[in-house]
Subunit: 222 residues, 2 copies
């Protein structure tokens, strides 16, 4: 669920024509400030347009909807996710490979963590955004489904690829919820804990009341 507001705006095809008046990043930052100040619902597109210094109409040329703003340019970061998956060794068990890629995708440099947290808190606690996010999740799942389909010789539409994608999302969302609930939590540990919890749940093994403290599961410690 990494998002990406600090990405360089891609160059235009030609240097001709009126220059752009703003950028995805600028809109996003202005909007985010307003969201945290007076809340998502109480911030109108007029407010954002005014804060960014552009016309309201222009906002829609950068983001499809108000709900899309907090996600930033998520489509671009999915490219990175695709590469992380493709980079996993083929001899790794499928579920380990997927899990490692998910963990890597959600690894952030320490200085980017506060803003990441703020962004995810906004997305995961604002009802309108919770709802809208499923459309983003669908893209994320498609990346996983595609990888699983390739590795197992199936179509991304088959049951297993879809299933793995859905379950991976379930694990990630669970970990994110727990992460937001605990200031000191480490997201990667929670992703591991979620996977461990699932294995325990399905294996019928007694599940520890607390997740293994700092227990690594399948990924290298950083």
């Amino acid at each position: 669920m990494l998002t990406c507001g600090d990405m360089v705006e891609s160059a235009r095809t030609s240097a001709r024509g009126r220059p752009v008046a703003t950028s995805h990043a600028a809109i996003e930052q202005a909007a985010f400030a307003l969201f945290t100040e007076r809340g998502f619902a109480s911030t109108t597109l007029d407010d954002i347009a005014r804060a960014t210094g552009v016309g309201r109409r222009t906002l829609f040329r950068y983001f499809e909807s108000k709900n899309d703003i907090p996600w930033g340019r998520f489509d671009l970061t999915l490219e990175g996710f695709r590469e992380l998956l493709a980079g996993q060794p083929d001899d790794l068990p499928l579920h380990v490979a997927v899990h490692r890629a998910v963990v890597a995708f959600n690894r952030f440099p320490a200085d980017a963590r506060p803003s990441h947290r703020d962004r995810m808190r906004l997305i995961l606690t604002t009802p309108e955004l919770q709802a809208h996010s499923v459309l983003r999740y669908a893209d994320w799942r498609a990346v996983i489904a595609h990888y699983v389909a390739e590795r197992t010789g199936r179509t991304p539409d088959d049951l297993l690829p879809r299933l793995v994608a859905q379950v991976s999302l379930a694990l990630a969302l669970t970990a994110y919820d727990a992460w937001l609930a605990d200031e000191d939590a480490v997201l990667e540990d929670l992703l591991d804990a979620a996977m461990a919890g699932l294995l325990g749940y399905l294996g019928g093994a007694p599940v520890a009341a607390t997740p293994p403290a700092g227990g690594s599961w399948t990924h290298d410690r950083r």
Copy 2:
């Protein structure tokens, strides 16, 4: 994901006052006819109000939003889900108990299946509704989380209850997708197949290219 449009409208507290002009069921049926005729987005609330023979303003006293109409009175059916879970034997492994309850919750009399299919197709293929449905799913998940919390002596907010709820939803959604894709599929078999697929995925066991034909997993054949 059972919904319930054919439920009897609950009686009012007193017999006094102006009588109601419509019912959830009536609105739902009129709306559904319009949705299938010209699509969800192209059907305005004015259309639905006119078809129901009621003022537009009144619709909002029966449904919180346009998006809520296709779900019918889902809140009421969750009561039944809660009971199904509570009715599972305590000595059953947790994941088996949850799975059986989910399967039972999604068992429909044969004559109700076409409309159930239509309804779920509408919900699962209309982007606005896909998005809105997460709020319904959250209620559904809360029921599972509560059950898991009780059986494992935790809080519904703990990692494991949330995790089980999320994963159960992932399994159900996967099964529903496959169900809608195949006219002849049996939903309960697909729920089983999804669970079997998950076990295979995590166990690293070779997963059959096709789900075990008609293979039962943990629930009694009907």
